[in-house]
Amino acid sequence: MMDVQENKSTDLVEKTDTKNDDQRPKWDNKAQYLLTCIGFAVGLGNVWRFPYLCQTYGGGAFLIPYIIALVCAGLPLLYMELAIGQNLRTGSIGVWNSISPYLCGLGLASMTVSFLVGLFYNTILAWVLWYFYNSFRNPLPWHHCPTALNLTEHIEECKQSTPANYFWYRETLNISPNIDISGGIEGKLVLCLAAAWFIVYICFIRGIETIGKAIYVTAIFPYVVLTIFLIQSLTLPGATLGIKSLFTPNWETLKDPRVWLDAATQIFFSLSLAFGGLIAFSSYNPQNNNCERDAVIVGFINSLTSIYASIPIFAILGFKAQTNYLECKNSTINTWAAALNISDPNITDASYELWYTHLNSTNPSFVKEHNLKMCDLNAFLNQSASGTGLAFIVFTEAVTKMPGSQVWAVLFFIMLFTLGLSSMFGNLEGVLTPLLDLHIIPKRIPKELLTGLLCLVSFTIALIFCLRSGNYWLEIFNNYVGSVPLLVIAFFEIIAVVFVYGVNRFSDDIKWMTGRRPNLYWQVMWRVISPLMLLVVFLAYLIVEAQKEPTYKAWNPNHVDFPKAEDLPYPSWVFNICVLLPAVPCCFIPLGALYRVIQLLHKYTTNRNTLEAYDVET
């Protein structure tokens, strides 16, 4: 083992020789580096996943498991990744190779996951671009249902669901009823995807040199827009309703273990750990940079942004619920007045409930016959969604009810785009830096060409998401690639640093770099709590996922319960792909170790053969 390590050490020293010829790019200043890390960590999930979790799991009470997960697992891993990248000054493959040659597969797994996540993440940005383009229309195309050909009524599919739903599922995605039917390629989505990849390419063309310039806009602009939305949303009626529903603590939820699991996974995925992107970014730092402070800054800003973003989002959702409730009341009043043949102003907002109770008690059959229902405000409030549903359906509907809807729509979609773009930089950097550090690409090929090729290949593969069944595939990628492999990689990362490399040695390195040993808090977290927590989270996540049926929600206009989504099981060929997607990156880890063992054995046998040859001669 020691022989191999020493041989490897000389190999590596030679490699660092050729690398240290002044050509490793550098950050222009500390601000760029910090903004890039913050931009990578702060992504779409902060805006559309955290508020949903907060509301579902009892508002203010959710913050407790969230902060605990941040402190126990998020920050230690973050600090570790930043320190390791800064110390060893290579991308993820080089870093783990240096720690132990048997871990070369770990870097490869990180690179693969970054690549796969980048594929579908940019498709979401393509959808955001499509909505951005359409926000310049007056009236907004998702405000009203389009009319049928004879102009007497609206299109059936739209009438049964809502205009926002119709615009998303039919006019944007043109979604097929299930994943088996691939349908054709949507031309407009291909154009938007190409535009998204072009924009990513222009920012990424020279690696961190161009990223560092672009990040000033893409990292800061979302905060500007969030502040504008915060101010505007607090003036809307019903805003306080939404914020109250978000933050009212429901301490009972803390007893449910799933809350803790979701908090831990949310912190973990939100900080963009295990992608290799953070390692790549910090590898361009000078070695005396204070990475402890950076880690704490990035971690806390990420969490604070989540909380800050949830306020305007929920204020606007509260406004939407209130408006929907009033509309519902008005239409029910009209139907009742028509059914009961009373003159119109007799049922007012105030007497609404009295009428309903009176009717129910005196003539319940009448109520049933005419299908008279009460409007429920809480039902409207609980209609919150997460993910693309929140951004493209719920929020767009809310925007149409605001005065000056085009402006708000444009601002919102630019914000989403810049949030996602800064995260894309991290994903792509997690692929590019290890590639460059592997030295398999000849020096003659300019970096611009390499990044261009990377973007082109990614664009071509991502065309599957432009099929009519593309959204279903994206959900598969999102659920399977962006979850389990990351947990596995992070677990092996911390095992590698704590048990293979040794925390003492690591602390010495950090002392050499920054002049201070990591204090007791970090030592305790690294040695005991973080590995334990990661293991528990990983196992719990696997158990929960294994218990769930592999089904997906399909948008089928011919379904009995339309507009409710249809729950369909995955066909077997799709399920095989679902299993393959997380398995491939995870398999690189043992395969890498196996490869090294084979190499070692090969060397050992050749050495023995040469020694024997000498013996024979003497």
Binding site: S98, H154, I202, W512
Partner: protein, 283 residues
Amino acid sequence: MITRILLLIFLPSVIAQDLCEDGKDGYKVRLSIKTALGDKAYEWNESEMFLFRSSLAFAMRNHIPTEKFDISNILVCNETKRVSFVFVVTSPNNSTKLIPKDQVASAVRKHRHRLNSAFLLSDGTLEFMGIPATLATPITYGTQPWLIVFGVVIGAVAVGILSLLMSTMTRRRRRAADKGVDSGREEERIEGLVKGNGTSLTCLDSKDGDYNKAFSNDERFTKLLCRFGVFKAKLAEGQDSKTTSELKSLSLKSQLEQVNPSEENDCDSRAEPRANVETGKGI
């Protein structure tokens, strides 16, 4: 005689009632005046009904120009306080014959806007049950607006990419031109090192002080390196009295002896690599 006269007088209205109440060719109308106008609502009375009948007659006249509809052709019944009623339209030639439903419907649809405006109401508040309102024609654009915005974005991005590529080209050309000048100086430096004692310690020549800590645990070796580093720094600064070339020609051991113990103490705190990083002074 009187009964016959009375019958004759009341017959048309009775027949009219029958025709209206039949309900087969009639339409129910519902008005929600207070909902639409609030405080400015007017009272529904005989005159308003007269207006309704006359505007409907107008609509029928316009729809079927050959026949001259009159107010008497519009029959109304089943009036309620909510303000809803049923109306039927009789033919001007034959007061017992009703105009078919679909013709009435198309007449109403064509003139819906006029009817609404006559009563200051809208499609929702002046409802004809069973006659769907014509929806507003969707706005059709010549060039889709989204294509315009898309074109602008793509154009800007393409310009950006081209300019970045151009700047790379010019930078590369400039660097190639400069390289010719620099190559002479590089060779001098390498020669000096080799003269040291035959070993080229090029791995220490990195300006960044890059130093793969993972593989050198050896305290002695690192101290040695540090002292050499200090020596080189002094060389660069030109602090020593001996000339550069003389120093370079010494053996490694003698070179290291040039370092004072006081300067060597700096090596314990490993300040040297960091200082090099900051000031960019090479080893």
